[in-house]
Symmetry: C2
Subunit: 256 residues, 2 copies
């Protein structure tokens, strides 16, 4: 409709990247705006969980009719892409090629896990959709890559390292968001503390290694209360292992 240049972007991306802004002059002033819709949707997902986010509930919260939303959003999938773009906020400021790449990458990871902690639903959404193509998430990737800017790694390796850290952050955030609270789960049991349940199911004959872990009380610990920067937490420990492995390669490259 708009342009027939042959290589038109999907509508969603055009909106996401700002080409599509103001050109509504004809009709009545719009009472709804895309920003208000996305903001409200994020608020619902934050407080009541992702399953509670329906178009009807969203409209109710905004004081409009359900179908009014579809004037600003093509469908629910598109709305969710907008949510994922807006929710993370700006990434930490990282210099293009910092001397302390390890410290900067660590800082980036810690702030990213905080994002997932604030908006756990991002994990569920990005688990279902295509790889990120919105400026919000790409800005985070760019910041993470900047931390590696000064290292002698090849571009492909930088990307692999960043994905490695991202995967770990996401995995840990997912686990801890399910551990600490039984929030977004409808009609879940009072949850007798994972470890206690496992203790009643696992027999040393069948799962010897797990039984050993359980006996050591690993699952009883209430991890995640202290700051996640702490290397003593599960998260900090794993992150340091990753950084150690990357540092090994960086040093080998720098020495050669």
């Amino acid at each position: 409709m708009s342009e027939k240049t042959g290589d038109e972007l999907p509508r969603t991306l055009e909106v996401l990247w700002g080409r599509r802004a103001g050109r509504r002059t004809r009709g009545p002033a719009q009472a709804l705006s895309l920003d208000r819709i996305v903001e409200a949707a994020i608020a619902i997902a934050d407080t009541d969980g992702l399953p509670a986010l329906s178009m009807a509930r969203l409209a109710e919260r905004l004081g409009c009719a359900t179908m009014s939303l579809y004037r600003h959003v093509a469908n629910k999938d598109e709305l969710q892409m907008f949510m994922m773009d807006a929710a993370p906020g700006p990434p930490p400021d990282i210099a293009p090629a910092p001397a302390d790449w390890r410290g900067e990458l660590r800082r980036w990871a810690v702030e990213l896990v905080a994002v997932y902690h604030r908006h756990p639903w991002i994990l569920h959404l990005s688990a279902a959709g295509p790889p990120p193509m919105d400026p919000g998430q790409l800005a985070w990737m760019d910041a993470g890559l900047r931390a590696l800017g000064g290292t002698p790694l090849r571009p492909r390796e930088k990307m692999s390292v960043l994905l490695l850290v991202m995967h770990y952050v996401r995995g840990d955030a997912h686990l801890s968001s399910n551990d600490l609270r039984a929030a977004p789960s409808p009609a879940r049991e009072p949850s007798p503390a994972y470890g206690a349940l496992l203790a009643r199911l696992i027999t040393p004959e069948r799962f010897p290694a797990l039984a050993e872990i359980l006996d050591a009380g690993v699952f009883d610990e209430r991890d995640g209360e202290g700051p996640r920067t702490d290397p003593a937490t599960h998260f900090g420990f794993g992150l340091d292992r990753i950084l150690d492995g990357v540092e090994t390669l960086v040093r080998a490259r720098a020495g050669a």
Copy 2:
């Protein structure tokens, strides 16, 4: 109803762990069985994707009425837990304390990624539910922990290392399952190869680090065709970084 010992397990877990087997004597021989249901559900999710798995479709495939399923399965969530228990199959055989912990852990990771490749829907399901409590998934965790059995790591550290590897495997499997095929996505565009799309959106001024990666052609590569054991793939590279980091700690512990 059955037992009032005070500490009764959730029904789902009782079925999952085998306590609940045969005690149907009264009625007619059951034409449906839990195993058949779960098997058919897995088949649907494998071929047509998770969104295509509805109770109605499942019943149609089994040649029974929709509501008949509920005689064997409490609800859809429970069915999905059964699916996640059955789909992975048995983990690789790993000795209790292998000398080559690194090789064994690597083998475990490679086989696990193959599981996720075969059943991509496991990623979506486990992203929504509680931490795994079924014997199927716990057997995998036990096998992974066995690989670390001979190392001087503390129990808590073993668990952290295993989670680290699991998170990475899941993350990579998720990415590659979305990359290679546009399968479970309804009405997705022909997908002009992620990298090509990014190239039209990313400007070096706004995303300098990403632009550099893109210029290097990192996203153009058709990764994932070769065997995932290959250290040259994204997956193999990241996995080796992890193992390097763990090895650093193992050596430090052994030397001290």
